[in-house]
């Protein structure tokens, strides 16, 4: 199979797409420029995974609306598991195909100046603010061919802005539901916590396409300004037919915190990179990620915390369970830049293999350019401990049940980090479904 290098979309198509959305000029020109760049840029090269034959260019893209959801009591079946009917979220956005199906934000938060809306509405209503953050300081358009393609073809996303000194206790939740099985999701999320603010954000990616082949090209940019704190949770659950590229990037300034809890439960091939730049002194980040690989899916997860400021703290924790013929590569990179004195960097990657045909690899990497720092890493790829199984079974648990407990226990350090109880429960369900 020859690799298709010609882009499936031309300038006219992009212009028309942008006009349909009635976008500001800056976005239209950014798209067109990105399209040009995409022609010459190279594909990303994730360490130890060859993606040259993966489908990232053949998909349906045209603007597709989705039916609105009048109330959370009438949720479509696909989404029912995502919510606890007794404890429905008050701040919620549901994107169905390319349009908003449901949107709610507490008045109190609106009054405080919180912006919680889809990316296209934000471009119209807060054009300058979006322009300031859109692929400027975190992910650059020309990082690779897929980021450029992303900029040219963005067809969904959310924009969240929490003003200075506003602390939000309740989570802000977004569900991106790709209902049309052939539709590509080129989704862009921007989360900004201004100085001294605090927020919890949780997102879900959902699709049900098993036979139909499509693409998810996702870029998320997360900014924590001085003294801000962001708790970021996600459950990615694209179906088997979707090939995913997920690029999540964080930038933390002085004494800011960005904590990630990512449930990376896609069923199709996936490349995911989660990079956090600790720019400011005293900034911290925990990058927790969990995955279950099954079937013949191939996944590559890179977590990277780059520590520029003094006295920063970066902690990467990756856990994966591999079954059948799945392949997963974990790359955990801790980097302390020159000048980042007094910083600490830790990585831990562990893979549990449930099948002899599965493949797993955990590569912790430390890159340190400063003397006065502490760092440590741990990695393991192993099977379920027969003595643990013996112990659990000696109490009457059947083999499958004992294995189930060991697996949940193995993933618990990451799952327990998810900031919303219903999402935690839902991730547990997805894990259950993927493991059995």
């Amino acid at each position: 199979m020859a690799v298709e290098t010609k882009l499936p979309f031309d300038k006219e198509y992009i212009e028309q797409f942008s006009n349909t959305l009635n976008e500001p000029n800056w976005m239209r020109s950014l798209r067109l420029q990105a399209l040009e760049q995409a022609e010459t840029l190279e594909m990303p090269k994730p360490d130890k995974t060859k993606i040259t034959r993966w489908n990232f260019s053949d998909f349906k893209h045209e603007y597709t609306t989705g039916e609105t959801i009048p109330s959370l009591q009438e949720l479509p079946d696909v989404l029912k598991d995502y919510f606890d009917q007794d404890n429905l979220p008050e701040n919620l956005l549901i994107q169905r195909n390319h349009t908003v199906a449901y949107a709610a934000l507490k008045d109190e938060l609106k009054d405080k100046g919180v912006i919680f809306t889809d990316i296209f509405t934000a471009m119209k209503e807060h054009s300058d603010l979006v322009e300031q953050y859109f692929m400027n300081n975190a992910v650059s358009v020309d990082q690779n061919r897929l980021t450029a393609l992303h900029a040219a073809l963005v067809n969904g996303g959310a924009f969240i802005y929490v003003p200075k000194n506003v602390e939000i206790e309740e989570p802000l939740q977004v569900v991106f539901w790709q209902e049309d099985p052939e539709l590509a999701l080129v989704n862009h999320v921007i989360v900004v916590a201004d100085e001294n603010s605090k927020l919890t954000y949780v997102e879900n990616y959902v699709s049900s396409n098993v036979e139909e082949q499509t693409v998810a090209n996702i870029v998320e940019e997360v900014f924590a300004h001085n003294n801000a704190k962001i708790s970021y949770g996600a459950v990615d659950n694209f179906a088997e037919g979707t090939t995913s590229y997920v690029n999540r990037r964080g930038v933390a300034y002085d004494n800011a915190t960005i904590d990630w809890a990512l449930g990376q439960m896609n069923e199709g091939n996936t490349v995911s990179e989660n990079i956090t730049h600790l720019i400011g002194n005293g900034s911290t980040s925990k990058a927790n990620a969990v995955t279950v690989g099954r079937g013949t899916q191939i996944q590559n997860f890179t977590a990277n915390i780059v520590q520029h400021g003094k006295g920063t703290d970066g902690f990467i924790l990756q856990r994966g369970v591999m079954k059948e013929k799945a392949t997963t590569i974990f790359n955990a990179i801790g980097k302390i830049e020159h000048g980042g004195s007094g910083s600490n960097s830790e990585q831990e990657s562990r893979v549990l293999m449930l099948s002899a045909d599965a493949r797993g690899d955990a590569n912790p990497i430390l890159l340190i350019e400063e003397d006065d720092v502490t760092a440590g890493h741990a990695a393991s790829v192993g099977r379920v401990d027969p003595l643990q199984m013996y112990y659990l079974m000696s109490r009457g648990l059947k083999k499958e049940e004992a294995e189930r407990l060991v697996i949940h226990g193995f993933l618990a350090p990451v799952v327990s980090q998810l900031p919303i109880e219903s999402v935690k429960k839902q991730l547990t369900q997805v894990i259950e479904r993927k493991v059995y």
Binding site: D385, P386, Y390, M393, S394, R395, G396, G409, A412
Partner: protein, 261 residues
């Protein structure tokens, strides 16, 4: 209904092709407390592990039956559900699984589907046993055995014993590493199980546990066999005189099976 009968006949057990047990005969009935004593390395723990079905131990000859059913044909979990329990000398640490979640799963594993223990009843009974064993409430929410002290692990084994209520329990050196207070509490828990429907095999090489739990029968193991049996008075004599007199009586020079078990 009166208790179960565990019958061990001519049991030979090897680990990595080395024979450790060389023909053990023992019968434990409901209502009876048996103690197996003996110096280190004589095969006591091997017997416990072989009864429960530890993956490393291979039974090469002989039989184990529980109420006539062939235990050796059963998987480890089937042995447990048939009524056997082993309080282990070195319990595994299970990260990410809380003690209470595990216990509830284990209780429900013995019950029919649809007849699971209610959460309220479970919590009530767990709290009762925690209190009885003077265990801090927070142990229930800690990960199973992870970071537990030696004493906490032993108490947790007895907690499981009390919660799971087996027909026949084997306690493998439940007293090792316990201070006197912990030993008393653990003994209190074991004594509470006493009854017509409960049989117990206590493995120890110290007599002091038997000051708190009075056995009905005492057996001495050497060289992978039971070499002497008697009543509680045998334990007293062992405490006073040690094992030398038995070795002399039986003409044994080296009591071990060249393996610390």
């Amino acid at each position: 209904m009166s208790g179960s009968v565990l019958e061990i006949k001519n049991l030979h057990v090897s680990i990595e092709d080395k024979e450790i047990l060389k023909g053990v005969n023992l019968t434990i009935k409901g209502g009876e407390f048996h103690a197996i004593m003996g110096p280190n390395g004589t095969g006591k723990s091997t017997l416990a592990s072989a009864i429960m079905g530890h993956p490393k131990y291979e039974v090469t000859e002989g039989s184990i039956t529980l109420d006539g059913e062939d235990v050796l044909e059963m998987e480890v979990d089937e042995r447990a559900r048939a009524g056997l329990f082993l309080a282990m000398q070195y319990p595994s640490e299970i990260s990410g699984v809380t003690t209470s979640d595990f216990l509830r799963s284990a209780i429900n594993a013995r019950r029919e589907e649809g007849d699971e223990i209610s959460l309220m009843k479970f919590i009530k009974e767990l709290d009762k046993d925690l209190e009885y064993l003077e265990i801090d409430q927070n142990m229930a929410t800690r990960y199973l055995n992870e970071g537990f002290s030696g004493g906490e692990k032993k108490r947790n084994e007895i907690l499981q014993l009390m919660q799971l209520k087996p027909e026949i329990a084997i306690l493998d050196e439940i007293d090792s590493g316990l201070d006197i207070d912990a030993l008393k509490v653990v003994s209190k828990g074991i004594n509470k199980m006493r009854g017509e429907d409960f049989g117990c095999l206590i493995i120890t090489h110290y007599q002091r546990l038997l000051n708190y739990i009075t056995p009905d029968f005492v057996h001495v193991m050497m060289q992978g066999r039971v070499v002497k049996s008697g009543g509680p008075e045998l334990a007293k004599r062992l405490e006073a005189e040690g094992y030398e007199w038995i070795k002399e009586e039986l003409g044994i020079e080296d009591e071990t099976v060249e393996q610390n078990a």
